[in-house]
């Protein structure tokens, strides 16, 4: 890497990090699902182990997940407070992604500017620009890019070692690593169609990767697989909201979240790679594009993750697109304007990716400070074994800030009757009848009900809350109600025929 390119890359990485941290520290809050991971890091810090048997989530349940990311975060909490680690770590990791993308792109094209633009694209992918998210994907995505980079140079021994290490870590970080394996499978298929033979080293690492990944998943998710079978892939998401996690593939949404320029350039380069130039490295990257598209279309991976992975590959392909465009321009009458090409490309990327990324960061779904205060209030003002009902997405706030049991959160795996539970929780906010609310209260032993502005916006304030059975114990923008009544059968009615 020449010095000038290194400097520019450093500027891109630091620039990405700076903008991310600006948004991250603009509010103390995290995205709703981050609180689950924060709580797990807390548990590791306290006990050395993740909280696989949770007493608070769903009132008590077993959960299984790959904990490597949480252990990494827990390590840093030895030196820094948890919430600071929560802000810094994911943003630092995702800020390193442009560096890896640069290295991949540089391996494909002789052009440094193209690779630098690829780095810019990856740093400002709208789908990844969520600076307040503390999630496993912040480690998974840079790692998978690193694994791809090492795989592309697998003939060199040090990169074989790098790949093995990266893959080992990936296997204990996220089950989405199977994306990589499906990509390998598509690559083998394309190679067979094109009568190309993959190298020995490639076949060997694929075999090793496949069996190692499967073995690790069986170790962690044995019971989940036995109970749910292949439905494990869909993580027991209630049918009512499965569309949110596994939506139908939407072209428009894909373009917006990835950026129109990378999207279009990716299509052009993919087409050329499959049907015209047959570069081996391109084959591998195109295989990942096909794998991601296929899995997303079949709704086997979450849409946001598919788009994020897709976006990274498209970012790499943008480098090739830039190179091809430059070569083309140099052959035409516009050659004298070729020095303006980088500025033009930068301007285009700012408008097509940069601004949407900033917009995505501004529109993150975060709890307000007032809401957090309300959840914090629970910890000091409610009995320890209370159960609190809130919206599904707010479930982790109850366990993290309130240290109380929740009725439901977004970790749906292995929860029986999840559809009914979701229905009941919804009914709690939508029903007009006190008896129905109390019936649900009895079924889930709910002691408190939280009505946040978000709940009001979604459902409006339940009418039955004005009755004597619901005592308002906290009032702010968020209101907390203590449920004082229970619904019981009148004893004498048991002796007669049931009402049929």
């Amino acid at each position: 890497m020449d010095k000038k390119a290194a400097v520019w890359l450093a500027v891109i990485v630091l620039g990405t990090l700076a903008i991310r941290l600006l948004f991250a520290f603009s509010t103390p809050a995290f995205t709703y699902d981050s609180y689950f991971h924060l709580r797990q890091v807390e548990a590791i810090t306290e006990t050395g182990f993740p909280r696989f048997q949770g007493e608070l989530s769903y009132g008590g349940r077993d959960i299984r997940f790959l904990p490597f990311f949480h252990y990494v975060a827990a390590f840093f909490t030895l030196f820094l407070p948890l919430e600071l680690v929560g802000k810094l770590l994911p943003n630092v990791l995702l800020a390193l992604l442009p560096a890896v993308v640069y290295l991949i792109a540089r391996g494909l094209t002789a052009s440094s500017p193209g690779s630098l633009f690829a780095a810019v694209v990856s740093g400002f992918l709208p789908v990844l620009f969520s600076p307040n998210a503390f999630s496993v994907n912040s480690l998974f995505l840079p790692l998978v890019a690193l694994a791809i980079y090492a795989f592309l140079r697998i003939q060199e021994k040090k990169f074989l070692t790098l790949y093995l290490i990266a893959f080992l870590v990936l296997s204990v970080t996220s089950a989405a690593t199977f994306l990589l394996l499906i990509g390998f499978g598509i690559y083998l298929l394309l190679s067979a169609i094109e009568h190309r033979k993959p190298s020995r080293a490639e076949i060997e690492v694929m075999v090793f990767s496949l069996f190692f990944f499967l073995w690790v998943q069986f170790l962690f998710f044995k019971n989940t697989l036995l109970e749910e079978g292949l439905a494990f892939v869909w993580q027991n998401v209630p049918p009512q909201i499965v569309q949110h996690y596994f939506p139908q593939l939407s072209l428009f949404q894909s373009i917006v979240l990835v950026g129109i320029i990378p999207f279009l350039s990716g299509i052009v380069i993919t087409f050329k790679s499959i049907f015209q130039a047959k570069n081996k490295k391109m084959f591998i990257l195109v295989s990942f594009v096909i794998a991601t598209t296929l899995l997303s279309w079949l709704r086997l991976i979450r849409f946001t993750l598919a788009l994020a992975f897709f976006g990274i590959i498209l970012a790499v392909l943008f480098a090739l697109f830039y190179d091809e465009t430059k070569r083309y321009v140099l052959k035409t009458k516009l050659a004298r304007f070729s020095s303006l090409l980088p500025w033009g490309a930068l301007l285009l990327l700012i408008f097509s990716s940069g601004f949407p990324a900033i917009a995505a960061a501004s529109q993150q779904d975060l709890p307000t400070e007032q809401e957090i205060e309300a959840f914090r209030w629970l910890q000091n003002n409610t009995p320890e074994n209370s159960t609190v009902a809130a919206l599904v997405e707010e479930g982790h706030l109850i366990t993290y800030y309130g240290q109380r049991k929740n009725v439901m959160d977004d970790q749906f795996a292995r929860i029986p009757d999840i559809e009914k539970r979701f229905q009941d929780l919804n009914a709690l906010y939508t029903t007009a009848f006190q008896t129905q609310a109390l019936d649900i209260r009895g079924a889930y032993e709910i002691d408190y009900l939280i009505v946040t502005p978000q709940a009001v916006e979604k459902y409006s304030t339940p009418k039955y809350l004005s009755t004597t059975c619901f005592q308002r114990v906290y009032k702010n923008e968020t209101k907390i109600y203590r449920i004082r009544c229970t619904l019981e059968e009148t004893p004498e009615l048991n002796a007669s025929s049931p009402q049929t």
């Binding site: 093995l164 060997e204 697989l225 036995l226 079978g229 049931p498 049929t500």
Partner: protein
Amino acid sequence: MKTTTKKWLDHCIEWPQWCLLLLLLMVLSMPFLQNSIQQQPVLLGEESYYHLAQSQELQSRNFYYAGLHVLDSFVYNRGFFVLTLVMAIASLLLFLAIAKKLALQKKLTFLFLLFLLISPAFIFTFSSLSGAGLFVFLAMSSIFLLLHKPPWRYLALLPVLGASFIDLFTTLLFIMLLLWFWSSYGKKKDSFAIFLAGVTSVLFFSNWLLLKLPFSLGPFHSPSPLRDLLADLGGISGISLFILLLAVIGLLATGRKEKLLGPFLFFILFSGIFILNPHTIFYLAIPLTYFAAKGFLWLWHRTWTLESVKSISLFLILLGLLFSTLSYLGRVTELTPSPAEWETLTWIKKNIDEKNAVYAPPEELFRAAYFAQLPLRERHSTKEQEELYHRISTAGYIQELFPLLEARNIRYLFITPQMKATLPADQGLLFLLKNEHFTLLYAKENFEMWEYRQEQKREVPEEAARGTEIERERAAGESAQP
């Protein structure tokens, strides 16, 4: 200098009978020991109880169950373990003898048997009274005898006769096996194998037309193809995912170089049968395990770029297979009736005289027929039975339920934990059981026996009736109590 592991491995490949016999004893004794410790019946799966129930109702249409009928009189529950174990050991030793006679590749034979013995499909098949297990034993016996000189080879007729009465598919399979043997290993003028194939063909038609044997036994549970194929996804039988992947590698890596037409055709045939009837998984497991052994050998003999990666990969594969086996063995106790279920069914046998009047859900059909001696009307759960179950379990009002019960003269209802888990408690059958026409006769750990009486409502004393009326009014006014 050879390492200890390599020496041990070479010894096992050279003399596989001891290693494999020991492995077989270990894997098959585990379900037996676990079930015995938990005081549960030792036979896994519904098919076992299907055969035992058939043998209890011995008639002309199922005369071939006479042997089992006699055995059942002397042997009970744990004794059947010996029968299945002997069949498994005999099948293994016969196969090894055949492999020696036919000079099959030693490494491949060892790996194939190693993978097969630890597969959940094998464990399930030979821990239950299964047609597939019996077929394997009889097929091995037949081929073993055919490889010998007269007069021993003529005894091959006996296993042929026995195998023809399992079901029509195994009869066809036997014919194919005999023809394959004749074409591959028999001498051109050898007519005895052809004679046996002819006898089997005659039996096929007679069993089909006269005895009306089913094409294939089962399924004995609600089929789910992926789950039934892969034991790792919670299937009651099946293969490990690692075996499936190794089989794919074996097919891709060696398919073009070697003549695998025979095994490949069997694979296609068994795959088709499996899709129609997932209960035939054991047959599919055999060619898949063969290809898996091929795949493992290919990986083993290949020169890898990094030897350490090779060792780790092969070790991971073996670890994965072992993990699947141990995971399966950890849940075998779920595949037999629990002590509570067994006690409830025994209570029914002793205390209910009108066996015809007992209703049991479809999944209990054969267990109830064997342990409670309920009449076994059909060979398998029919659509009619499932529809009846659906109507009974989802009846919302007594006006729907009572006519259903009365029309079929059902006086007793057997309620299982599975019904309690899947049916709603606040409506339908489980709610209607609170009606005074139903009386709980017996309950043990959520297994319940209810009696349904058609007689009039019992008379309620006047004071209690007036009190009930007042409470109804009060309840209508306000239902919430702080």
